[in-house]
Amino acid sequence: MEKSRKPFTVLFREVCEMDVRNNSGKDEEDIIRSFTEFEGDYLPIEKDRLILFVIDYLHSKNIEVTFDKLTVAAFKLFPKKFSLIGFPEYPDAKTVNDCVFLHCVKTKGWASGNAQSGYKITEKGRYFLDETKKMLEGKIKVVRKYGTVPRRKEFTFVNRLKKTQVYKKYLQNKEEEISYSEILEALKMPSHSSREALERNLEKYFAYANKINDESVIKFLDFVQRKIREVDE
């Protein structure tokens, strides 16, 4: 089903001009269900900032900012940032909780509250909210790129693989320097591992890389597979 996307400015104008009374007839949940994905480039922006934006967005719509509403709203507006690995159609509540409670409330002091009381933006958070809005509008470009993949098992293993010498050599086009033992070490396999075990492990890595959609690692794993076959021959 094709989603109807609106540019940020249109979306925000709608929010500002919205008559609260119009909402009164609708359930808050229904309003959230009607949210569509933000059209601008939100991928480089930090998840904590996006959560701050969502809290403000819900406030502006006169919707009480509870944890569940925040989770679904964040997912509806920024699905690429707040969905589960392998299940892009479901919201990632753990990531939302980490962002809002651990980061925005506890560490950064941008928001106050908790899952029992709901959330509010602090005076300090207002400044960051304004800055985030400028980022979403494109008035400020973010130089640092923030990841989209939540830190789960898939991400952890793929990330470890990326830190190995073999992967670095592969990126530097030094494929001929890569030895079989180095590959085994990178895949966390002992030297006496059976061919089946190796295949099983490699398959797992393929699955993880595919789930988090890391093209570079998928290509590297293709290379590893070729190299293993060459040794067998």
Partner: protein
Amino acid sequence: MTELKEKRTEPGEFHPEWFRKTVIEAFKNDPMRIIIELIKNSADSYTRLQKKGVAKPPFKIFVKIRCKRKSPPYIEVLDHAEGMDSKKLKEALKYGTQTSMGEDIEAVTSAEKGIGLKDAMMALKDNWLVTIKDGLINERKKHPDFKTGFGREDEKVTQLDRNRWGIPENGTVVIGELPPYFHERKYHSICEKLQKHFLLRKLLQNPDYEIYVIDLLNGERRLLKYYPPEKEKQILKESFKINYNGRNYLIHLEIDKAKRELKQGKPYGEAGLLFYYGNYSVLDFTFCRFERDSAFSKFFGEVRMEIGDLIRNPTEAPLVDEKRRGLDTEHPFNRKLFDEIGIKLKNIQEEEGNSGYSFDDLTKREILKELNRMYKEIGGAGPPPEPPIKPEIFEFYPVWVDIKEYEPKKHFLIINSSAINNNLEITLKSNNPKIIVKPATMRIERDKVEEDFIIRQIELYSEEAGSNGEIIAVSESLNHFSKMGVNVQENPIFSPQNGFAFVPDRTTIVDSGRKEVQLCIDKSIVGESKEITFSSEYPISCPGKWLLPDSENLEEKIIKNILITEIPIEVKGAGHIGERARLTATYGGRMASIQIDVVPQPSIAGAIRDIRFSQKETRKISDFTEEGVIEIYYKHPLVKKYMSKKNFKDRPEFQTFIADVITREAVKAFVVSGIKENSSRYPIFNSDHPEPEIDFYIIQEYYEKGPVMHEMFTRLIKSLKLE
């Protein structure tokens, strides 16, 4: 009291010119020797008594000094040894006699012949020698024209005389005022110099002799002692023979390595070999052909010479030169001795070649940081760093800042240069007068901007904790504004625990580094006592005491009822990474402590990573290695020439020369590294033969950056030390 009166004189044997040329010149170079000669005469007299079995140690010699502020001191050198009768006195005060006046009673030609009792006496103004032997007193004086003056001759001594001179039985006292070229005016400095003088070292180490220096003004009495330098290890201990005129003379050589660098050269240096015979008769203090060689500045030792037969031979020339500067290098025996010792020293130099010079680590790190900052400026290490955000016009980054009361803090405004049409003026305002922002206005000229994004610093300051405010940057020409929030937090230095505490109460310090820690004291506990005492655990060192300012100055130093004192601390030596120590301060019954962890030095990044004073033997005087190290080769003849001089490190010519060598090498490194990194500052047109262009850039940079570098490197050279 008996007055000393000259009754008659006898003519001298030498022309006064001889005394002026030889003796005065010798004493002028080392005036302390006047006192030493008299002390040694007394010691020799005791030795003779001991050898005859008449006296037993300890043998006491008294040097009484009356210092005057504007004229040389008056001295008396007294012993209770042999004393002399008129016959012996005549011999003692006459030149050219062959009498056994030294430590060796059978020696007819003293190894040290040349300058002795009579010369020392002549150097003293209004001198008198009073000696009592077997109940008879004799008084003599020596005139500068070699005449001998006579006071009482073989007269019976009275109790009054004994009391006056402090001689209960036999003994001698020499009195007089030291000559104008004796510049010491203080009792303590005379004592110090006597203790350090090489000619007295063996005598002061000998427990049989006790030399007391007495201050006649206040009666202070001090026993002179000599302690050899602390030994790291023994390098050599052996005996060998020198064959001379068909006879073998046994020489005992001992060389040690000290833990620290020693001062070189006579008369007070400690790095060298002490040549002596008998028990204490020192002939010279030298490293033979390695004299003042910096490689030997940690070495010291002794050469005991069994040369009794040589000094008893009346046909032999003295081993010491006429002015008694040291062993006569022309004497064939000494030549052989120096050759033999020279070979051994050469071997030591080769084996112990690892010791070398190094710069003070902290000074070097500061200079390397400064140098690499300069390189970044001129070498152009790539484009300027990318700003964290790229705004459409201008924005604060970050948009919120927490500052501490009384602590200025830097913040940033990032400006997109493409938004500037002509000249841009940004006004900075604070909506809370208790929060100050500087500058109030920022002006940017379009023509002078090269980068895409300009990062400008602003400074925020407040003295009011708990204040909140907003800083707004406005540009009317661009019709744009940016704002940031400011929160002023309480500074922990104003609330020390119990009114007396280190803030913070834990810190880190780099290995072998130094820093200051803040001790905060509440005004209400500052009492009458001005003294804070400190104790620290190893490896941290700190001052033992710290004085608070006087009550008049105290108020000026107090902020918000808190007095903040900065206490210097440092790590003793290196190699303490990971160690933890506690520094405790005590004041008026209160205690405060701080936990200190020793951490490694952060690594130096940049084109130049180290500067070393290397002992490599190369043809070059300096080099810049691939690892980014500037090396100065101190075995290069040109550097050696400067280093052979006394206190070479403090000499401006040495400092200037080495600073220039390092400057040239650093400038060359800058240019070569810059070219490698394709710096736009050093475009090379003829890449096949770039040498003339490189030389041009080196000269250009030398004139531009040279003076600053010279100043930096001179500071570095002053910190040079022997490892």
